[in-house]
Symmetry: C3
C-alpha cells in the first residue's frame, strides 16, 4: 500500500491525456472546494470552471473544453467525460489505496447448509442466508443482511447492512373485519450488478417471484413490495417505495421518498421526481412530478385552505365567463 | 412432502364445491396469467372472467356467478369468496407443501434469562429479546429482530427480520438551544395475531405504553411513535408513519407512505390513501386523501407555481364577482 | 432499588419549590389523565389546568401561575419550566428506579481489533464496529448497529438498534445506459450527545466525510445521504430524508417524513413541517410547509383534478379581468 499515486500512474491505468508533470504526487481524491495541494479533483461541468483558478488541488481532471484554462494553472488529465473518469478513478483508488477486506464468509454469519455461495462471495458479520438461497460470484452481503429462503442474488451484487430480501409480502384477505394471511409462496430473484442500500427491503412474491433485473441500484430504506418487477439499470433514491405488483421499466429513475402505487406499469425511461406519488400507469418516457411547493407557513396555510375550494373556484370562473358572454 | 395435491384433497380440506375431475393434480398455485397446466389459479373478480378461457391453469377457483363459464373449460372449485378461499389455500399449501422450519429458538439468538417465551415461540438468528420481555404462544420472531426491555408480544404474532420493538420514543425538552432527553419509561404492548413487516419500528412509551391491539398488520419500514394506540385489525402499508400519541381506531387502513401527525385521533373505519398526510383528527369513518396529482414535469411546474398564488387568485375572483353585480 | 421516592427526595435532587407534604410517596411518573394516586404528573401548559381538579395524581409539577390551584388539591412541585423539570425527573428516575444495564461490550458484538472504544462505551448484542472506527466516552451502541470502517462517534451518543453508520453513499456515474459505481472513500463523523433512532442510516461521504454536529437528534428510519452536513442541535423526526450534499443549519427541525433534496442549504433556525419537501435552499429562519391538505376522497378528487388545470384557470381569470377593464 503506497501513500499515494503519481499522476502518470493514474493515466497509465485509466487513460486520459496528461498535461503537466506526471510526477505530481496525489495523496487523495477531493472535491474542488476542499482539495489541498496533495489532492486530485475533477471539474464535472463547465459551470464550475471558475473554481479552476481558486482550487488548491495538485491536479485536475477536466473536459477538453477546459484544457487551456486548467493547464494554465498546473497539471491536469483531460478526459471526454470527467465524471465517468472520476468514477473509475475512485474504483482504482479503492483497490490500490483503500482496499476493502478480502471476500470471506464472516465466522459470525449464519449460512444454511442448503444455501449456495458462489466463489468470491463475501458475507458480513451476523448476516443470515436461509435455506435454498443462492448468491452469485463476487457478491458482497453486508452485516445484518437477511437473504430469505429460496431467494437468488446474482453476480457482483452489493447488499448493504440491514437489507432484508424475502420477507413476506403484505397480503391479506379481509374477512369478518379481520385479515386472513395469504402465505407468500414466491421468492425474490435479483440480477447481476445490483446494489441495494442499507435497511432496504425486497419482499418475496405471493405466488410468482419478485424480480429485480441487472444493474438496478436502490438507495437506503427503499421498500419493494411483493411481485414488483424492476427493469434493468433503473435507480431509486432513498426512502422510495413501490407497492405490490407494480412493474417499473428499464432505465427509469425514482426520486427519494417517491411512492409508486400497486399494480401500475411504468414504461422504460420514466423519471419520477423526488417525493412524487405515481397513481396511474405511465406509458411515455419523460420526467414526471407531483409535489406541493414549499412556502413560508402563513402563505402555505392560505393556499392550502383555498385549495380545498378549488373545484368551486373553477365553477365560479365558469359562471363569470358565462355572464360575460351575452 | 408430496409433490402436489389432488383437487379433491383440497376440497376435502377447505370446502367449496368441486366441478370436474377431483383427480386433477395440482403442482403449484399460480396467478391466472402465469399459470401452467399443473397450476391452480383463482378468479378474484368477475372483471377477470375473460381470462377464464385464456389461462393455462389446470383448475380454477371461481365464484358461483362464474361457475358455468369455468366448468366449460375444465375442473374448478366454486366458492362464495374465491379470494378468501385462496388465502386459506395458501395456508394449507404452506403447511403441506412448503413448510416453514419448526418453531425453535435459534442457537445464535440472544434471549435474556429474565425474558419469558411461551411454548411454540420461534426466535430467528441473531434476534435479541431483552430483559423482562414476554412473547406469547406461537409467535415467530424473525432474524435480527430486537424486542426491548419489558415489551410484550401476544400470541401467534409474526415479526419480520429487522423489526425493532421498544427503542426509545423521540422525546426531548428544548432548553437553551439544546435538547434535554426525556427518558422513555414506558414499554410496548402488542396484542395477538399482529404481523409487523421487515425493519419496521414501534417505539416504547414515555410514561405509559405504546399499544398495538389484536390483529393489526403493519407492512415494512413503518414507524410507530411513542404512546401511539392502534385499534384492532387496522392495517398500514409500507413506509407509513404515525407520530407520537396518535390514536388510530379499529378497522382502519393507512396507505403506503402516509403520515399521521402526533396527538391526533382517527375514528374506527377511517381509510387514509397512500402518501396522504393527516393533520387533523378525523371523527367520521370514510376514505380520505391528500396527494398532489402527478403530471409531466412542465405542467406540474406551471401548476405548482400558480398554486403559490392561489389565495390571491381567489381574491381576484371575488373582485370580479363584486364588479359584476351592480 | 427502592419501590419509589418521597416528594422531598425529588425536590432535594432536582430543585423546585415543594408545596404540601414532602412525605408523599411517588411510585411512578404518569401523564395527568392516567395518573393514579401513587403517581407524580406534570402540567405542561396552562391550557391543561382544568385537569388539575380531575387527575388522581398523588402530586403535580406546575408552573408558578398554577401554584394556588394545584396547592388547593394537594402536594405539588412548583418549577419555572415544568416540562424541563419533567425531563430531568425522567433522567433521575431512570438512574434511581429503572436503570439501564451497565455499560459493557456485549460478548456477541463484533468489534474489529483496530476500532477504538473509549471508556464507558456500551456495545449491544450483535453490533458491528468495523476497522478503524472510534467511539467516544459513554456512548451507547444498540443491538444490530453497524458502525462502518473509519467512522467516528462522539461522546455520550445513543445509537438505537439497527442504525447503520457508514454504508456507501448512493453515487454512480451514468454511462451507456448503465451506472458506474463511484466508490465512497469518505467516512462519517458524528459529534457529542447525538441520538439516532432505530434503523436510521447515515451514509459515508464520497470523498469528504458526512458530518453530524453535536447535540443532533434523529428519530427512527431517517435517511442521511452522503456528504450531508447537519448543524448542532438540529432535530429530525421519523422517516425524514436528506439527500446527498445538503447542508442543514444549527437549531433546525425537520418534521416526520419531510424530504430535503440534494445540494441545498438550510439556514440556522429553519423549521420544516412534517411531510414537506424542500426543493430550494432556504436562507431565512422560520417555519416552512408544503403539504396537500387532506380531504374526504370525493372532494380531494375534484380539487386534485382541477389543480391540474390551475395554470389555465389563472389565464382565464386574467382574460376576465382584461375584458372587464374597457
Amino acid at each position: 500500500m503506497t501513500p499515494g499515486a503519481r499522476l502518470d500512474a493514474i493515466v497509465a491505468a485509466l487513460g486520459g491525456e496528461l498535461t503537466g508533470s506526471g510526477e505530481t504526487l496525489i495523496a487523495r481524491l477531493a472535491p474542488l472546494e476542499s482539495a489541498d495541494h496533495n489532492a486530485l479533483a475533477f471539474v464535472a461541468h463547465v459551470r464550475y470552471a471558475a473554481q479552476i483558478e481558486t482550487t488548491h488541488a495538485a491536479a485536475l481532471i477536466v473536459s477538453p473544453a477546459l484544457r487551456e484554462r486548467a493547464a494554465a494553472r498546473g497539471p491536469c488529465i483531460v478526459s471526454d467525460n470527467p465524471y465517468l473518469y472520476f468514477a473509475r478513478l475512485t474504483q482504482w483508488w479503492r483497490v490500490h489505496h483503500d482496499p476493502l477486506p478480502p471476500a470471506t464468509v464472516h465466522p459470525s454469519a449464519w449460512v444454511d447448509p442448503s444455501a449456495e455461495l458462489a466463489p468470491g462471495v463475501s458475507i458480513g458479520p451476523f448476516a443470515v442466508v436461509e435455506a435454498g438461497a443462492r448468491i452469485g460470484f463476487g457478491s458482497r452481503i453486508g452485516a445484518h443482511v437477511t437473504v430469505g429462503r429460496g431467494c437468488v442474488i446474482g453476480q457482483r451484487c452489493i447488499l448493504h447492512p440491514g437489507v432484508v430480501i424475502g420477507a413476506d409480502g403484505f397480503g391479506f384477505a379481509p374477512h369478518d373485519g379481520q385479515w386472513i394471511k395469504i402465505e407468500q409462496l414466491g421468492a425474490v430473484r435479483i440480477g447481476d450488478d445490483v446494489e441495494i442500500g442499507a435497511n432496504s427491503c425486497v419482499d418475496r412474491g405471493a405466488l410468482d417471484d419478485t424480480v429485480i433485473e441487472d444493474g438496478v441500484k436502490l438507495d437506503n430504506l427503499v421498500q419493494i413490495g411483493h411481485n414488483v418487477h424492476i427493469g434493468a439499470h433503473t435507480a431509486m433514491a432513498g426512502c422510495a417505495g413501490v407497492a405490490g405488483s407494480a412493474r417499473i421499466g428499464r432505465g427509469c429513475t425514482v426520486g427519494g421518498g417517491a411512492v409508486v402505487l400497486g399494480h401500475l406499469s411504468l414504461a422504460d425511461g420514466v423519471h419520477i421526481s423526488a417525493a412524487s406519488v405515481v397513481m396511474r400507469s405511465i406509458h411515455q418516457p419523460g420526467q414526471y412530478s407531483g409535489v406541493f411547493p414549499l412556502d413560508d407557513n402563513v402563505s402555505w396555510e392560505k393556499n392550502a385552505a383555498t385549495l380545498r375550494q378549488l373545484h368551486r373556484l373553477r365553477e365560479r370562473i365558469k359562471t363569470l365567463e358565462k355572464n360575460e358572454r351575452p
